[in-house]
């Protein structure tokens, strides 16, 4: 059992997962950022692998990825940076990114490196369920990696059940039909959709992401799920920060700590 599965086994509530882009704002910020995220009290870290053509991402994550690539970030370098992260980081860590860099690296090789570094799970949004089942599932599972799939308001019930079946950690509930970072707020449509998912009594826990930006939206969605994922708002804060570690800790405490 990996750290993610252990975490979710205790049926936790109000989990905060934080997404950031590797190699941003500076090339070697990856590990210091992770330490600050953990220190602030987040429950899960998602490291974004930058990609030249991130079609599911809005302007904030696009810009951070572009900066990271300009800084010289590569997947190979990322594995070097996080090689000994487990000396410092004990919360679950996922890698999130597009399939092309993974395929170039070699899927088998990638899975092995993930295992060596202590990665617990993967979110590869452009990996189709069918290809996962037929090509990748074995490789990832045999290296102790959980694969996380997305569900959106447009996903059919039948497909939600398929995703539930394929899930061994949590389902990523995308809050609205949007790219990352879209600030649509949480309207009645979204609450309906969260309720519908709750009513489906899925086997898998859920985290809600996209458009979650502060304590208010965090608390609002935690009522319908096991927690939430914050990405673009976190990266916006990083981009504006002059004191990264301190600001990260403060940002997370403001969301997580009881008032």
């Amino acid at each position: 059992m990996n750290r993610l599965q252990t975490l979710f086994n205790s049926k936790p509530k109000n989990l905060l997962s934080v997404y950031f882009t590797a190699g941003f704002p500076e090339l070697n910020d990856t590990l210091p950022v992770m330490k600050a995220i953990q220190e602030g009290g987040a429950d899960i870290i998602e490291i974004g692998i930058p990609f030249s053509d991130p079609i599911a991402d809005g302007p904030t994550i696009q810009a951070s990825g572009k900066k990271a690539l300009t800084n010289g970030m590569t997947l190979k370098l990322l594995f070097n940076q996080i090689e000994s992260m487990r000396k410092k980081i004990d919360i679950p860590v996922l890698l999130m990114g597009y399939l092309n860099p993974v395929i170039q690296f070699g899927v088998e090789n990638f899975a092995m490196k993930c295992k060596e570094c202590g990665i617990d799970g993967l979110i590869l949004p452009d990996m189709p369920l069918y290809e996962f089942e037929t090509l990748y599932k074995e490789v990832f599972a045999s290296h102790g990696l959980s694969s996380v799939f997305l569900v959106t308001p447009q996903t059919s019930d039948e497909r939600i059940r398929q995703v539930d079946e394929a899930t061994d950690s949590f389902i990523y509930l995308v809050s609205s039909s949007a790219t990352t970072g879209a600030k649509s707020g949480l309207g009645s449509d979204q609450l309906e959709y969260f309720k519908k998912i709750e009513g489906m009594k899925l086997n898998s826990p859920t985290l809600i992401g996209f458009g979650i930006s502060n304590r208010e939206s965090f608390e609002a969605v935690c009522g319908y799920s096991n927690g939430a994922i914050i990405g673009s708002a976190f990266i916006d804060m990083m981009a504006a920060s002059n004191n990264l570690s301190e600001d990260i800790v403060r940002f997370i405490k403001r969301i997580k700590e009881p008032t």
Binding site: F51, D53, P54, I55, Q62, D126, Y130
Partner: protein
């Protein structure tokens, strides 16, 4: 061996639908419905009516006497340049907009590089009274001004793509992002045989009218529906697939695709994807792709804006790896020279994309009695500025 798509959306090991979940319902809706719609009698009737009366099909198959003399073969041009809007692109946009209407979509988006597909999309949207947004890289907007204005006159909104390298691949990214954010009322008209399944197959079917007509016209002119060779240029690959489609299983017909070599394949400024690319995933399909060792997509270069795409349709990747189609390249210099030569010999100024196909005439050996068809995918009007800058005419 099959050269067509299988039921999972693959051409051999290439193809598939590598899309984020946000796009899945849209692409799945298309996949479930496209064959039934395209094969229905009323769709076929309307499609062919518009191709005839609006586009001006069948496009002529023209025997080039002077060009044949020069290259010592029997050379025919398939005149897609005479279509309404000046290129083959309109065959696909007519098909897709009819399909979008059947699916109940009210709005259309498209990407464009040179602006030809954008113009062809804006045109059919005007025809059908549908709202049209065309995404175009900021760099391309700058170098293809007349087409930008044409789209605006036709009532389309041209949205500058300011992300990434600000060219065709980024315009495609932006169109996909817009589609993610507007999933229910919008259809995305992709301009070539690229993208997630079923796009490559759907666009190929709409463009297959090119080789369907070729067969009839050749039979009439030469006595046989099959030529010895068919030549076409490749950007994403739609005019080439359209020209090859009905010959893929006729193994005695040589099929030759010409990619943009740019300043030379090894110059670092090229768009010869099958030579420079490796297996990768971009815009929803597994195909050949120009990329770094780290899997970042690289920027292609060609003098012709319609050919500088870092990928190639998955069917082409399969036709390349199976050896059914020969892929060669033509440099900027060779293409410009061939374009000017055709202008002087036959009175036809070709699009610079299409001029790349002509280069194959001098690179390959044909027998004097060989029947060779070159697909003239478009006319050179849009490229006048590039011809003028090039000079040497």
């Amino acid at each position: 061996m099959s050269y067509q798509v299988d039921e999972r959306g693959y051409y051999g090991e290439f193809g598939g639908a590598f899309i984020p979940e946000m796009l899945y319902p849209n692409v799945e809706e298309l996949r479930r419905n496209y064959l039934d719609i395209i094969n229905s009698d009323d769709f076929q009737a309307e499609f062919h009516h518009l191709l005839r009366d609006y586009v001006g099909r069948p496009s002529p198959l023209y025997f080039c006497e002077r060009l044949s003399e020069k290259y010592q073969a029997r050379i025919y041009l398939k005149r897609e340049d005479l279509n309404h809007t000046g290129a083959h692109k309109v065959n696909n946009t007519i098909g897709q907009i009819l399909l979008a209407r059947k699916l109940g979509k009210q709005k259309i988006i498209a990407e464009t590089g040179a602006g030809q597909h954008g113009v062809a999309t804006a045109t059919v949207c005007a025809l059908m009274g549908m709202e049209c947004k065309v995404f175009m890289g900021e760099v391309d907007i700058e170098r293809q001004k007349p087409n930008v204005e044409r789209m605006k006159i036709l009532g389309a909104e041209v949205i500058p793509a300011s992300s990434g390298s600000r060219t065709l691949k980024d315009a495609t990214n932006e169109a996909m992002r817009y589609w993610i954010n507007h999933p229910t009322d919008t259809h995305y008209i992709i301009g070539s045989v690229v993208g997630p399944h079923p796009y490559p197959d759907m666009v190929a079917r709409f463009q297959s009218v090119i080789s369907e007509e070729m067969k009839l016209q050749l039979k009439e002119k030469t006595g046989s529906p099959n030529p010895d060779a068919v030549l076409a240029c490749v950007g994403g690959g739609s005019n080439a697939i359209g020209s090859f489609y009905h010959y893929l299983d006729e193994l005695d017909v040589r099929l030759i695709a010409v990619e943009a070599g740019g300043m030379g394949v090894n110059s670092g400024k090229s768009a010869a994807t099958t030579q420079l690319g490796g297996m990768g995933i971009l815009h929803g399909s597994k195909t050949l792709l120009m990329q770094t060792e780290d899997g970042q997509v690289t920027e292609p270069y060609s003098i012709s804006a319609g050919l500088d795409y870092p990928g190639i349709g998955p069917q082409h990747a399969h036709l390349k790896s199976s050896g059914r189609v020969e892929y060669i390249d033509a440099t900027d210099e060779e293409a410009m020279t061939a374009g000017i030569e055709l202008s002087k010999l036959e009175g036809i100024i070709p699009a610079i994309e299409s001029a790349h196909a002509l280069v194959a005439l001098s690179k390959l050996k044909f027998a004097k009695e060989d029947v060779v068809v070159v697909n003239m995918s478009g006319r050179g009007d849009k490229d006048l500025e590039t011809y003028i800058k090039w000079g040497k005419y």
